[in-house]
Amino acid sequence: MRVSRSAAASLAGCTLLLVLVLTGALDHLALHFSLSKSEPAAEAAVSPPEELRLWFTQAPQDKSTSIRLLAGDTLVETGPAIPDSEDDKVYSVAVERTLEQGAYNIAWRAMAADGHVVRGEIPFTVQVP
């Protein structure tokens, strides 16, 4: 039967592909959406920043990124999260006042192209000379 033969040929092709996959004969790069770095960096001691900047491994979905600055439980006023004009994997917010010395936390959230929502916190300290 013609259908059986074509199905068998397809299955054979798929099996070959599966074998290649399992033996690692095909090499490729699979990336997972996450934060790659930030300014200020986690646990860093810095002078009062004018903006907070996050680098992701892939571009987040448009409008899904939220970056909030917290001093303890208090929300510090910032501007909206804006993508970098040259690199859509980079987002930043402007800090709208000069921060006082103390401990702060950046709470961020973004949604990957595949719909996975990723969030995290970046603690840092502001030191005023």
Binding site: C14, V21, L31, D114
Partner: protein, 302 residues
């Protein structure tokens, strides 16, 4: 919550592939059934389409709730975050599939129950079928396929084909069981219908099975970085579970096709085949449940 989350995914995928299975069976199987039985088979496809599209609509609603719960910033009111979510690419795809699901339910409800009816009722079949097929692209545009940077041209069509093939097979099997049930209620025996419909379904299932395995193997290559990742990552282990269950479905399908179909007129009639087909459908839905877990799992997370 992971079990509830997986059940939401199962309801969505099960509804989607059942709706498409009804549509593909309507056009690939029903026209080749002879005589009056053809009308009964089309009516079965319509019932299956209604069940599938209604489940899909419920699944789509729950999917939004699940995504909003994951997405929400606790400092922002729910309504405000819902608006933000709807403005993302995910939200745009969700709005499209919601409209599609509503129209599909209405089209299946309005479609001619026996393939005759008015022009409009026949057109409703086309609308329902085109929409059910188009909605099978939703997982590709909101899942791992769209996140495959550099190879989207391959991953998105492959994922779309994977869902279409799953629908033609698993949804088609559900259609065969419903058609047989209707025939048995009407005439007391389902043998004659099965003897006519099963060879037609087997042809569709063979092609769909080959496509499923092929596109599944491709997705494995795209999302599993190495052999070691199959065992060391959560994604890899769930994928192995899925492959194991798929093998069970393939074996049950082969038994139906090669062993039980030729025995339709023997002792026990259609019952052994019916029972095995129900087993095949049950394990296939377990595959869908595992697939729902898989799409929620980032490929490289340990």
């Amino acid at each position: 919550m992971p079990i509830a989350d997986a059940l939401v995914g199962w309801l969505f995928f099960a509804g989607l592939i059942t709706a498409w299975g009804a549509a593909s069976s309507r056009w690939l199987i029903a026209p080749r059934v002879l005589g009056r039985r053809r009308h009964s088979v089309i009516a079965a496809a319509r019932s299956v389409g209604l069940i599938g599209s209604t489940a899909l609509l419920a699944g789509v609603g729950l999917l939004f709730w699940r995504q909003l719960r994951d997405f929400r910033d606790p400092l922002v009111p729910w309504g405000e975050e819902a608006s933000v979510l709807l403005a993302t690419d995910w939200g745009l795809s969700w709005r499209l599939i919601t409209v599609g699901a509503v129209v599909t339910v209405a089209a299946f409800a309005f479609a001619a129950a026996d393939g005759r009816g008015s022009e409009l009722q026949r057109a409703a079949w086309i609308v329902a079928s085109v929409l059910a097929g188009a909605m099978c692209a939703f997982p590709a545009f909101t899942g791992h396929a769209v996140a495959t940077e550099g190879l989207r041209w391959l991953s998105i069509p492959a994922d779309f084909l994977h869902v279409l093939a799953a629908g033609s097979w698993i949804g088609g099997l559900f259609f065969v069981l419903i058609a047989e049930l209707r025939e048995r209620r009407r005439s007391g025996r389902g043998n004659a219908l099965l003897a006519e419909v099963l060879p037609l379904f087997s042809q569709v299932a063979l092609v769909a099975g080959a496509l499923l395995v092929g596109t599944g193997a491709l997705a494995s290559w795209l999302h599993v970085a190495s052999l070691d990742a199959l065992f060391s990552t959560r994604y890899g282990r769930i994928l192995l579970t899925k492959i194991g269950l798929v093998l069970v479905v393939l074996i049950l399908g082969a038994v139906n096709w090669r062993v039980l179909t030729p025995r339709l007129w023997g002792v026990g009639g259609a019952r052994p085949l019916r029972r095995n087909a129900i087993r095949e459908l049950t394990v296939a839905h377990l595959v869908i449940l595992v697939a729902a877990l898989l799409v929620r799992t980032p490929p490289l997370e340990g």
